[in-house]
Amino acid sequence: MSSKEEAKERIINWMKEQKKSKHYFNDICKAVPEINMREAKKLINELVSEGRLRYWTSGSTTMYMLPGVDDVEKEEKGMV
């Protein structure tokens, strides 16, 4: 596994370990402390494009969460 893929893996694992489901960008960066924020942003963007992370937004702030297969459906039914 390339170091980039390894770092992405670490981000996903960090997300899985957390109690809360939604996380700020700043906090996710703590999963890969050796990487500067601009680089970390690229990794997180890739994870979003690959469907391994997804955005949640209040409209004023944005957070990141792990996707579930039926997220949108659940949200629409008011289950989350």
């Binding site: 700020y24 949640w56 702030t61 944005t62 629409e76």
Partner: protein, 424 residues
């Protein structure tokens, strides 16, 4: 068609001579059941004195973290047509210039795929499409981008859609090409606009002159305000014409009648730095003391004009109250030429964002971070030299701290040796 919901309280807002959003929405409700429900829901909120909207969601278009704001109502049992009522932000063209065929097409898209309600424009500057369902989001996005060449704007923790005043397109006072600057920022920072990774929102606003028609100084994390560094251009003949009552003062803003201008009371005495003098024949301005407030130019536009060596003052940090109280932007770069490709400006932006991303807490605006860590830290991070023009009231605050690096010769300090000479 009779509307489903009775709205006696909202109906009060239809009275009076002014425009009413209730009247507008009722008109659309004739053909759009979601607009009927939205009125019913609002009436319920007025009755309960509580909001009935849930905050936020995961819905969006693929690859974008902003531009769509998920909105769900918490009484879908009563108002099923607004169970999902997502907002979309559309990036408005610089200075809001449209062709009518674009507006018509936009209306067609939204009539078919959304509630038919717009907000021209939201306080962010974007065109706001109010209310659609998840399954329509990608289709609307496709038509916006492919048929209108329009994009979604910013929302969430990203750079928001930049905004500028009408500038040189219509205003003789503009010291900047505001459209070009807005366009340049929009295109250069596409990633920051669409993929949120900042601690919180970040706004750029551009005003062509210190009249600041987009209120950049109060509403933007980075305010770009046009100014000049040479002299105000004076047409003495026209000054005398104002005084002689041959012209309408204030460009007609306080009445369309010609009247003799009381230049002493209306201009000279109101100059904030008292840098003007009128001897009955000629107007003299000590430009080195002029703070470019625009007052004299606003009163006598035919006689006075901004100088010709134009550029921008860059200010940073304004915001509305959330964590801290409201704040205005502070001057960081008193003058910058601001000509394409704006490299000097973008270099500054890069350093500013790096510092904020590194040190900003979640939901902390740049202005609040500067308040927390100090302007000194911010200037250091952005390689900007402190300048008296950054200080509101010089000598007001006597506590001045120096770094050995900032003082010729510097100094060094040995705390241990100090303690040998001074008992604690």
């Amino acid at each position: 068609m009779a509307l489903k919901h009775k709205t006696p309280m909202l109906d009060e807002l239809m009275k009076g001579p002014w425009p009413s959003f209730v009247t507008d929405i009722k008109r659309v409700a004739e053909r759009k059941p979601q607009c009927d429900d939205i009125l019913g829901l609002m009436e319920l909120s007025y009755k309960d004195r509580e909001g009935h909207w849930k905050h936020g969601g995961i819905v969006g278009v693929f690859g974008y973290g902003g531009g769509v704001i998920g909105r769900y109502c918490d009484r879908p049992d009563l108002f099923p047509n607004v169970a999902h009522f997502h907002t979309m932000r559309v990036n408005q063209p610089a200075s809001k210039f449209y062709k009518t065929d674009v507006l018509r097409k936009l209306c067609d898209i939204w009539e078919e795929k959304g509630s038919g309600l717009f907000n021209f424009h939201g306080s962010t500057g974007d065109i706001i499409l109010l209310g659609t369902t998840t399954d329509q989001l990608e289709a609307i996005f496709y038509e916006l981008t492919h048929e209108l060449g329009m994009d979604l704007g910013g929302s969430g923790s990203n750079m928001r859609t930049p905004e500028g005043c009408v500038g040189r397109a219509r205003c003789e006072w503009s010291c900047l090409d505001t459209q070009d600057i807005v366009y340049d920022i929009t295109m250069r920072y596409q990633d920051e606009l669409h993929r949120p990774a900042f601690p919180y929102k970040f706004k750029f606003k551009v005003s062509g002159c210190p009249n600041d028609c987009v209120a950049a100084i109060a509403r933007a994390d980075c305010s770009i305000i046009g100014t000049w560094r040479d002299k105000i251009r004076i047409d003495q003949e026209a000054v005398r014409a104002y005084v002689g009552g041959e012209l309408v003062p204030h460009g007609g803003a306080d009445g369309p009648e010609k009247r003799p201008l009381d230049i002493q009371a209306e201009v000279i005495d109101k100059c904030p730095t008292k840098c003007m003098e009128w001897d009955g024949k000629n107007l003299k301005i000590w430009d080195e003391d002029c703070v470019r407030c625009m007052h004299c130019i606003n009163i006598m536009p035919r006689a006075l004009r901004p100088g010709e060596d134009v550029g921008a003052t860059i200010l940073v940090g304004s915001k509305a109250p959330i964590l801290e109280g409201a704040q205005l932007s502070s001057v960081i770069i008193p003058f910058m030429k601001m000509e394409p490709p704006y490299e000097e400006f973008h270099e500054f932006v890069g350093k500013m964002w790096d510092w904020w991303m590194e040190h900003g807490k979640n939901r902390e605006r740049l202005g609040e971070l500067i308040q927390r860590l100090g302007m000194r830290e911010f200037l250091r991070a952005t390689d900007v030299k402190p300048d008296p023009r950054m200080v509101n009231t010089p000598r007001y605050n006597p506590y001045i701290f120096y770094d050995p690096d900032d003082v010729p010769g510097g100094w060094s300090r040995d705390p241990k040796a100090y303690r040998e000479r001074h008992q604690p």
